[in-house]
Amino acid sequence: MNDIVSSKTLAAALSEAAICAEDFARMRDANLARWPTGAAIDFDEAVAHHKALPQKKQLAEAMRRAHAERRCLTQPRGGFATLAMQKELMQALDRDGLADIVPTTTDSYTRNEQFAAAQKGVDESERLGRSLLNGFPVVNYGLAACRELIASIDKPAILLTGTSMPKLTAEIGFAAGYTGYLGSGIAYTTSYIKELSIADGIRNYQYLDRLAALYAEHGVELHRRQPGFLTGTNIPPCIAIAIAVLDCLLAAAQGVRHYGLELAQTLHLVQDAAAIAACESLAQEYLAKKGYHDVFTPITSLHWMGAWPRDDAQSATLVSYGGTLAAIGGATSVTTKTTHEAYGIPTPQANAEGLRITRMAIYLARGIRLAGLPEYETEKALIGREVRAILDKVLEMGDGDVAVGSVRAFEAGVLDVPWSPNRHVKSRVMPARDARGYLRIFDPGNLPLPRDVMEVHAEGLRERAANEGIAFDRELAIRSVYELSEPLSKLLPD
């Protein structure tokens, strides 16, 4: 069961290099043998199944079309414990929510490969008639059940499996006909696990990306996607983008040519639009540096990932504004939340409502772009300088190897993620929101950000500290964690 061991034994020295065919074949056999449902996987049959899927269920194709037409697709999150509940949910999201992409979120036991615990969760949920799991246990249910889910909707399906141990879930999911998979080695390892090393997280996703590339080699293009939200807690664009680019380069090295990049919204219109534009161009810039000229990198914007208010009205605004930010920013898709966010996993109805609120906002913002707005151009340039400063240092530390460089950079704090549960991440960097609503860095830790750039960050933060009459210290960062969850009477007193 323990994935850390298996990956250690299989992959000796860490490197970005593509896993060679023989090793990969051996790794796949070992992996599929870890749980009974793995036995049902037949790669050639899976490829045939994908080729038989109608175009409207192929996410890679849908993302390419939306990108070309400058449309913004909608996608929620959603997972329940039992097949019946999950099917009802996915159908509601498809029909009542008009979702363009329908998700299957896995539960947290599955994410940590505690399949026995997941089974208990399924049984208890059946017994009590309500879901006790926060997602759908894909591995326990296996191939046939997943195909039943996908057959019950008219849209492409994506697997959302926040985990640094995706190997079994991915094999079953891809074979079942999921055409999208969210997850990456660096991002998820910094936010979803405590003990696993960055190196092992990277190894696990090299497996996944290699698998996606294998499907591509057989004529099946899948939508791989990097989870840019990290800990979802006030991640400044430069940190999200730097890690997104690194995960992207690692995937490209395994042969992936379709790799979406996510960015959590900062909720500042100008900063988010600038970040979305900067992310795509920086990804292409570094892909080119490494010699990749044919990787498709659409951007997905994520509704506010930090703490939500407990007032439905305030939450409705975060949902609606989230659609506005994604559309004006030019994202190719947006991942939606709901008015239930502060409380619990939404009902299918609340989830569909969040999709419709967002879709209406996208309609209203059609055609609006900020290119040419002085403040926007300045912010975009600032983000570019920040990201390059970090990435160039990482590549240098790895002597050109992205995997090695990333591991060393985390050890040195040159790569850092705020509020990480992972003990291999320094988490010294401290973000905070400034007086004008920009998400800035209060304490960079060891991030190699130029002094003058940090001056820009400090300025707005000092202004806020002054406005609120508080010290220029950690309190700024903590207040910023709570800020958006505060009642209006505190945010904007009358």
């Binding site: 947290s108 940590n112 615990a117 969760g121 799991l133 926060n134 696990i193 807690t233 407990r310 549960p421």
Partner: protein, 152 residues
Amino acid sequence: MNGAPPSAARRFTLVTGVIGADTHIVGNRILSMALEEAGYRVVQLGALTPAGDFIKAAVETAADAILVSSLYGQGELDCRGFRDLCVEAGLDDILLYVGGNLVVGKQPWEDIEKRFLDMGFDRAFPPGTRVDDALAALAADFASRTAHAGEP
């Protein structure tokens, strides 16, 4: 922040952590920092902590209370039998708090609270609880416990 521990004389020890396969560390960490600032000795187990580890740490540090965080919804499964584990370990009347988004979905708080009090927690705290409320509760409970300390 208000609600400093009642007796400066004796320093209370608290064990904190996020139970089960739950990665939500932010609130738990802010809470733990606040508890330290308030003068408590805090043993932080961090995210993804099995129930057993809480009890082990509490025994080793002779803790006065365990503060369990659960945000991801599966706390209802993870927390079952938590009090029994304490009793087995001889921590018969250690103060037990639980807080966060304890169950899956938006359910009436009264139902949720009852479920966790029935599991043997002394107090349960709803989504979005602020640290001051936690500090106030601890101060109150320790005060009454010290008061009744002498009694049989």
